[in-house]
C-alpha cells in the first residue's frame, strides 16, 4: 500500500464470532465491501462449533465508528454474530518490527491442566513474545490418555540466550511430564 493510501484511510480490527454455518465469511466481507473497506490481513478458523474471524481492514477516512457499527447490525441478528470493532490508532497501525529471531516451541504430552499456563508464564517472564499459537488434542478413551500438543511461534528478545531458555523449558517439561523443543523457524520450501 502506498503512503498516500495509508494516510487517507483508517484501520480497524474486526472480530466476529458465531455458531458455524455457511455464509458467515461472505456476510462479513459483504458489509465491508459495501462500505469501501479493504481486507488487509485475516485469521479465521472454526473452534469446535464456533466460527471465529479476525480481520484488519482499512476503511475510507470518511467512515465513522457509528456507521461501521450500524452496518453490522443486520448480521448480528441474521447470523447471530458477536461483532467487536477496534479502531486502530496511527501508532497501533504501524507494522510490527521485523521479527527478532523467530522460533518454534513445541510442547506435547498427556493432556493435563496447566500446560499452556506454565509454559507461557515462563515465556512471559523471559520476555519472549508469542506471535502465533496452534494446539491440537487427540485420542483419549480406549486408546489411552489424550495427547495435547501446543505449538508456539515466538520472537526471542535480542539478549536472550537460546540455550538458557531451552534449559528452563526442559526443566519445566520435566515437572509437567511433557516433551518440549525449541527450534528456529524454517520456511516451507515445496
Amino acid at each position: 500500500m502506498s503512503a498516500m493510501a495509508k494516510s487517507s484511510s483508517k484501520r480497524w480490527l474486526v472480530a466476529a464470532i458465531g455458531q458455524d454455518r455457511p455464509g458467515i465469511v461472505a456476510g462479513v466481507a459483504e458489509v465491508l465491501y459495501q462500505l469501501g473497506c479493504n481486507l488487509e490481513d485475516s485469521a479465521m478458523t472454526r473452534l469446535e462449533g464456533e466460527f471465529t474471524i479476525m480481520l484488519i481492514v482499512s476503511a475510507p477516512s470518511s467512515l465513522s465508528d457509528e456507521r461501521l457499527q450500524q452496518a453490522f447490525a443486520p448480521l448480528e441478528s441474521r447470523l447471530r454474530l458477536a461483532i467487536h470493532l477496534k479502531a486502530l490508532s496511527a501508532y497501533e497501525t504501524r507494522s510490527p518490527a521485523k521479527s527478532l529471531r523467530p522460533h518454534i516451541i513445541s510442547v506435547y504430552g498427556a493432556d493435563r491442566p496447566g500446560i499452556v499456563f506454565r509454559v507461557t508464564q515462563l515465556l512471559a517472564q523471559a520476555r519472549v513474545n508469542i506471535t502465533d499459537v496452534q494446539t491440537h488434542r487427540a485420542g483419549g478413551g480406549k486408546s489411552g490418555p489424550s495427547l495435547y500438543m501446543l505449538l508456539l511461534e515466538v520472537e526471542l528478545p535480542k539478549p536472550a540466550s537460546t540455550v538458557k531458555l531451552e534449559q528452563s523449558l526442559k526443566r519445566l517439561a520435566g515437572e509437567l511430564d511433557v516433551e518440549v523443543s525449541l527450534r528456529p523457524t524454517e520456511a516451507n520450501v515445496l
Binding site: I104, S106, D132, P145, L151, E153, E179, T185, N188
Partner: protein, 167 residues
C-alpha cells in the same frame, strides 16, 4: 512375537534410545518379519521402528515404494543398526506417525542422506536416499534414537502463508 501391536506415545519405550544388535538370531528375524506384516497391515504406513512395537532393539523396516509420491526408492528394506552417516540439503514436509495417531506436523529433514545399516543376514550396506525415502529413513532412525517427529516441528501449519515480515 506374532501379535505385535503399536505402542503409542506417551509409552516410555518411544523415548528410550535403542540398543545395537549383536548377531542376528531367530527371534530378531521373526521380529523383523512381524514388523513388515504390521507395516503392510496399515495402508499408509511406510516404515516401522522397533520401539513402536515395544522393543528397544536398533531395528527398523521401511518401504517408501508404497507411497504414491515416493519417487526414487529402494523398496522394502530391513535396517539392522541403521545410522544416518551423511546429510545434504533441507526440506520441510508433513509427517504423521502410527505411535502418535491423529497428529501431523511440518517437519524439517535433510533432503538427501547416506544411510548405513546391515541387512537381515547381517551384511553391511550403505544407500544414498533422497526425497520421500530419505524422510522415511530419518523418521525411523529418529525412533531408534528415542526421538519423535513432534520434536522436529519446523513451523506452524498456517505457515504455508507466512505472515509478512515487516521492516
Amino acid at each position: 512375537m506374532s501379535h505385535l501391536s503399536i505402542c503409542r506415545f506417551p509409552d516410555p519405550v518411544l523415548k528410550r534410545p535403542t540398543t545395537p544388535i549383536n548377531g542376528i538370531d531367530a527371534p530378531i528375524r521373526h521380529l523383523a518379519d512381524a514388523m513388515i506384516r504390521l507395516m503392510r497391515a496399515h495402508t499408509r504406513c511406510v516404515g516401522l521402528a522397533a520401539p513402536q512395537v515395544g522393543s528397544s532393539l536398533r531395528l527398523a523396516v521401511m518401504d517408501a515404494s508404497v507411497h504414491a509420491k515416493s519417487g526414487k526408492n529402494h523398496g522394502l528394506l530391513v535396517l539392522i543398526n541403521p545410522v544416518i552417516h551423511t546429510t545434504e540439503g533441507g526440506s520441510v514436509a508433513r509427517e504423521g506417525c502410527l505411535s502418535i495417531p491423529d497428529f501431523t506436523a511440518n517437519v524439517s529433514r535433510a533432503q538427501r542422506v547416506l544411510l548405513r545399516a546391515a541387512d537381515i543376514s547381517g551384511n553391511p550396506f550403505e544407500l544414498w536416499m533422497e526425497g520421500f525415502e530419505a524422510i522415511v529413513a530419518q523418521h525411523e532412525v529418529d525412533h531408534l534414537d528415542g526421538r519423535l517427529f513432534l520434536d522436529r516441528v519446523a513451523n506452524l501449519k498456517t505457515d504455508v502463508f507466512r505472515r509478512k515480515a515487516y521492516d
